[in-house]
């Protein structure tokens, strides 16, 4: 199964047949999610209208972690089975994951201002998402730092594996640090078990964001494979000209 789609051509056939479905799912789910988020769900009794930020913020946080997990798995597959498309997939997912992480941080900060009275606190969760963002940046920078692109994708795959192992350790140590330095200076709002009128848009947006992620990854992988093919064709043409002339 895995080996079958190491062939870019076969992968593209599959990707092209999946793409319309994921695109439709993205549009429908996010539109429905936004409708429920803005029109059909009540404002929170404590937070008022600002609770609606949650419908973008929480799914982005999910996607930030999901995309990194995807990169780690794809990198492992790429390294272990020397799977070329897996490497391309990991590189394609990285900027998307970084964007989700940034959206998560930005919306969190916008939400924090009215709720906590400050744009940023060194809360354990915020800090670990910030470090996750740095890990994304490192991965992207390393992948693009070599003239030889295959070197870059292998080096960044090793980095992703190490980062994947390190991420729980960082998360744990940041939690520890937070309890050590900041004994509840910010009283976080306890989430009561969430009401279904809020859960519906949240889940819709979550699945919609996942579909968006899959769609964007497929588009980026397709573009990368096409650009490699163009380069290969160009190189072949130059070779033919040199040999012929």
């Amino acid at each position: 199964m895995l080996q079958k789609y190491a062939n870019p051509k076969r992968f593209l056939t599959l990707a092209n047949s999946v793409l319309p479905w994921t695109t439709c799912a993205t549009v429908i789910l996010i539109v429905a999610g936004l409708y429920f988020a803005f029109a059909a769900s009540p404002p929170d009794y404590q937070q008022g209208q600002t609770v609606r930020i949650m419908y973008v913020h929480v799914p982005s946080a999910w996607m930030a972690m999901f995309a990194y997990a995807f990169i780690v798995v794809a990198s492992a597959v790429g390294l272990i089975w020397k799977h070329p498309v897996a490497h391309v997939g990991a590189l394609a997912a990285a900027p998307i994951g970084a964007c989700f992480t940034l959206i998560c941080l930005a919306t969190g900060s916008l939400w924090g201002k009215p709720m906590w009275g400050t744009w940023w606190v060194w809360d354990a969760r915020l800090t670990s998402v910030l470090i996750l963002f740095f890990l994304y940046l490192g991965f992207i920078a390393l992948a693009n730092a070599f003239d030889d692109s295959s070197r870059g994708e292998k080096a960044s795959a090793i980095l992703a594996l190490i980062g994947g192992i390190n991420l729980p350790i960082i998360k744990f140590s940041v939690d520890w640090w937070n309890t050590l330095h900041q004994p509840a200076s910010v009283s976080k709002i306890d989430m009561p078990s969430i009401h279904s009128s809020m859960l519906t848009p949240l889940l819709l947006m979550g699945i919609g964001f996942t579909a968006l992620f899959v769609t964007l990854v497929i588009i980026r992988v397709r573009a990368e494979l096409a650009s490699r093919r163009i380069n290969a064709l160009r190189a072949a043409k130059i070779h033919a000209e040199v040999a012929g002339g």
Partner: protein, 221 residues
């Protein structure tokens, strides 16, 4: 194992011949730490409060200066290729180079750290724990840094890139390292933090030489 110790000896000898490379790390450590009183004011209590964090952050940053040459010269003159095809497993060679790196940069930083601690008004009861935590912490930094150096070998702008890769991974070291010193100043038990640092060191000892070896193989393809 002869090759292992021979490699350590060779790297130390090279470091001694290019002493300025080692000295620059120490000088940077001292200078950057002594900038803090200018920045935040020389009030003794404030300095004492900040000393553990300042020591750890500056030690980490000064170590960044030393990693770009860890494999670079060997990569350029072909020594690395010989290490890759040598009968000794590559992770063991990588470990030898990391050990030599720690002896030539981590250990001197360790020696200077109490001095800077005293200059920053760190309480004397924190010094012993500072030394213990830094001995563990600098070894971890050497291991993680070597991994970054191996990954960025032959890349463009490897120096900046290296910091971007290593610093986020070094966050736990910073947390437990300065946590240990702060706990000892406050009179709390420090064993938890030191045990966590030891655990991190063991994990890095397993992972980083392996990652280094994989990265060095890719660099030599």
């Amino acid at each position: 194992m002869t090759a292992f110790f021979a490699l350590i000896k060779r790297d130390i000898r090279i470091a001694l011949r290019q002493l300025s490379d080692t000295l620059i790390v120490i000088v940077f450590f001292v200078i950057s730490a002594s900038l803090f009183p200018f920045g935040v004011g020389a009030e003794p209590n404030l300095l004492a409060r900040m000393a553990p964090g300042v020591l750890w952050v500056t030690a980490l940053l000064s170590a960044m200066l030393s990693f770009d040459r860890l494999f670079q010269n060997d990569f350029e003159d072909g020594t690395l290729e010989l290490l890759v095809i040598a009968p000794q497993p590559l992770w063991l060679s990588a470990l030898a180079k990391i050990a030599a790196h720690w002896i030539t940069t981590g250990f001197p930083v360790l020696l200077v750290a109490p001095l800077i601690g005293i200059m920053l008004n760190l309480k004397p009861e924190g010094l012993a724990v500072l030394l213990a935590a830094m001995a563990l912490g600098t070894s971890i930094i050497s291991l993680i840094g070597a991994l970054g150096a191996a990954l960025t070998l032959g890349s463009r702008r490897s120096g900046v890139l290296l910091s971007l890769l290593i610093l986020p991974l070094a966050v736990p070291v910073l947390i437990f390292g300065s946590g240990a010193v702060e706990a000892s100043i406050g009179g709390y038990p420090v064993s938890q933090q030191l045990l966590m640092l030891s655990g991190l060191l063991l994990a890095c000892l397993v992972l980083c030489p392996w990652g280094c070896a994989a990265a060095l193989r890719i660099a030599n393809e």
